[in-house]
């Protein structure tokens, strides 16, 4: 790369002046304008963009909440209610933040599911996938600490139960717990450090999301067929095709989001969190937020504390090695008749675990959780490696264009050329 002014294509003198010195406009044009994108995305490919928007909503609302929130055990609960009552549109900001966390997990669960169904984690996108798992872990930590902030009964007891899990680790366990608590029980120092970290981690997420997108723009996107684009006839410029499609998806997402915020803002929450935290009164059932329930069920499925903790963390860490567990060269489940069924069954198990996680730790839920947990791991550790050898995949289409546009022969000239002109 030569040193000196960048050779900019922009005509507007101001943009050109900036672009010559710092070619961010060229970069944006390349990455979001002309960026060649498989022409056959379905609506599952909206969820990455939705997650990005959701993250920005969380940060924007969070910053305004933090202006009015008081991270002290004696004032936290009342300060949140003050936001609800006395801050202009405070109820709106808080309900958007609160339900935004749930929307974030809905969106990201679907986004991850999409990646698993269409084999997006396979070479060459392993690092992209792993960065996604890092984002997921950071999100979970952020949401967990955020839920502690309003200092209701579930905040307090959820924090107590979850931080206590770390004590299961031999040698370092108690030390870690004391470090998390900043003392010898969940108390004001805990609330203070959780608030500080809850403010910090979303910005770490922004950083990892950036890397995630950088990696994406090196490999390009996967697509529902799982076959790589072979030339311009297989792709479309991102703009206007996918900007238009994402915009539509975004509006649908906002409608669902608004449905929760305006008409059922506490539906996904637990009523006990409107009872101020009381270390002397243990709630009848301590349940985490709905998005943690599958993992909570795995934790409780194991009779041994350390085993449960390891399995719970393992259920997410196993995603890191998924690209190497699944050795099949065929990405999309559309062409893997057996793996497809095995994966749909895995999806059912995920929901079964979510259900059991919200139930008391008694029969039949314990046995059901155990079976579902076994299958959860069995799918990754046994079924996928075996199927990579045994399964006979269906014939793959020759190219994306062939599959989408049908028939043989080359692309009609107009269809491929026109979008390029526009861009």
């Amino acid at each position: 790369m030569a040193i000196g002014l960048h050779d900019s294509d922009f005509k507007n003198p101001v943009i050109r002046w900036v672009d010559q010195r710092m070619p961010i406009f060229t970069m944006m044009q390349k990455e979001y304008g002309t960026f060649p994108t498989p022409r056959n995305f379905n609506y599952f490919w909206n969820f990455g963009a939705l997650a990005m928007v959701n993250l920005m909503i969380m940060i924007a609302t969070g910053i305004f909440l933090a202006m009015h929130y008081t991270p002290h055990t004696s004032y936290a609960f009342d300060s949140v209610e003050r936001i609800m009552r006395d801050v202009n549109f405070g109820w709106l900001i808080r309900y958007v933040h609160m339900n935004g966390a749930s929307m974030f997990f809905i969106v990201v669960f679907i986004h991850i599911w999409r990646g698993m169904y269409y084999g997006s984690y396979k070479a060459p996108r392993e690092l992209l996938w792993m960065l996604g798992v890092v984002i997921f872990l950071l999100m979970m930590a952020t949401a967990f600490m955020g839920y502690v902030l309003p200092w209701g009964q579930m905040s307090f007891w959820g924090a107590t139960v979850i931080t206590n899990l770390f004590s299961a680790f031999p040698f370092v366990g108690d030390w870690i717990v004391t470090l998390l608590w900043g003392g010898f029980s969940v108390d004001n120092p805990t609330l203070n450090r959780f608030f500080s970290l809850h403010y910090l981690l979303p910005f770490v997420i922004v950083g990892v999301v950036f890397l995630h997108v950088v990696a994406l723009h090196i490999t390009g996107s996967n697509n529902p067929l799982g076959v790589e684009p072979k030339g311009p006839q297989d792709t479309l410029p991102f703009h206007p095709y996918y900007t238009a499609k994402d915009s539509f998806g975004l509006v649908i997402y906002f409608i669902v989001f608004a449905g929760f915020v305006f008409f059922a803002p506490n539906f996904l929450g637990h009523p006990d969190n409107y009872i101020p935290a009381d270390p002397l009164v243990t709630p009848a059932h301590i349940v985490p937020e709905w998005y943690f329930l599958p993992f909570y069920a795995i934790l409780r499925a194991v009779p041994d504390k350390l085993g449960g903790v390891l399995l719970m963390f393992g259920s997410i860490l196993v995603l890191f090695v998924l690209p190497w567990l699944d050795g099949s060269p065929v990405r999309s489940m559309r062409f893997r008749p057996v793996a497809r069924i095995a994966f749909l069954l895995w999806t059912v198990c995920f929901f079964v675990l979510m259900y059991c996680g919200g139930m008391p730790a008694e029969e039949p839920y314990v046995t059901v959780s155990r079976i579902a947990t076994a299958y959860y791991f069995g799918y990754f550790l046994v079924i996928l490696p075996l199927l990579a050898r045994l399964e006979k995949p269906l014939p793959l289409p020759e190219s994306i264009a062939r599959a989408v546009l049908g028939g043989g022969g080359p692309m009609p000239a107009g269809a491929a050329a026109k979008p390029m002109d526009k861009a």
Binding site: F44, D78, E81, L236, Y241, V251, F262, F263, W290, L293
Partner: protein, 254 residues
């Protein structure tokens, strides 16, 4: 393609409908009571909420605080500034220190928080056989069933069924988890005399105080729903436009 997305939403919707987080807990079915604020377009019946405040003030406030509310909030129930000032001035609140460094008592002002019946939790317990009369500010959000539960609780006192032994100072209630509650039946017929002629039946008082407590917990409810309706209409139109644009843009590729 669109079907798959809808399918995904339907799946999530179905999942939420059986929302496990709320399934956990004591399984006493709470009957549905019709309230003015039910449904998507419901609003608070102001007259009912005002009567409910009277019930709270004359009965519940002897034991239960509502520390998150101020007298000025009562204007939202349709009380005039004069009425609110009069209500506030009925209580004495501690203020200070004054220029001499002394704390002093003065009549309440609209900007004061509702005065609590007890100075602290210990005093409240001491006066109630060790049981704690909870703060009622957000009680409607803090119980499964919300206002329906409050109504059921207040109308649910009964003689214990044969064979049930009650604890010392406990009262049988059909809807309280465990059925043994330390609060004695607070509402008896004609305990409160309503100025508007509404008969002082237990059902009327229970409905009115439940309405008042629901308002206290969610004073933003009406504004929230009204805004929500506008936003959903706006988004639906925007969604139609976005879909049309998308169709137009994609028209030449398939």
């Amino acid at each position: 393609m669109f079907r798959t997305t809808l399918g995904a939403f339907a799946l999530i919707g179905g999942l939420l409908a059986t929302s496990p987080a709320r399934a956990a807990g004591e399984a006493i079915a709470i009957p549905n009571h019709p309230f003015s604020f039910d449904g998507v377009f419901g609003t608070y019946d102001r007259a009912s909420a005002q009567r409910g405040f009277q019930v709270y003030k004359e009965v519940c406030a002897n034991c239960h605080a509502m520390r998150l509310l101020s007298y000025r909030n009562l204007r939202e129930l349709g009380l005039t500034d004069q009425q609110v000032a009069a209500i506030a001035s009925q209580v004495q609140v501690q203020d200070g220190p004054n220029d001499e460094g002394q704390m002093f008592e003065r009549p309440g002002r609209p900007s004061d928080r509702f005065r609590s019946p007890f100075p602290n939790q210990q005093a409240a317990r001491a006066a109630n056989n060790g049981a704690y009369p909870v703060d009622l500010s957000v009680i409607a959000k803090a119980r499964n069933g919300g206002a329906d539960y409050l109504y059921a609780l207040l109308t649910g006192y009964a003689d214990p069924p044969p064979g049930v032994t009650m604890g010392e100072g406990m009262n049988y209630n059909r809807y309280f988890p465990g059925h043994q509650i330390a609060m004695g039946n607070p509402l008896n017929p004609d305990q409160v005399e309503f100025a508007d002629g509404t008969p002082g039946t237990v059902e009327n008082m229970a409905r009115d105080v439940a309405t008042f407590l629901q308002w206290a917990a969610e004073p933003e409810l009406e504004q929230r729903r009204a805004m929500g309706v506008k936003i959903i209409i706006f988004l639906t139109i925007l969604g139609g436009l976005a879909y049309a644009v998308k169709r137009k843009v994609w028209a030449d590729v398939h």
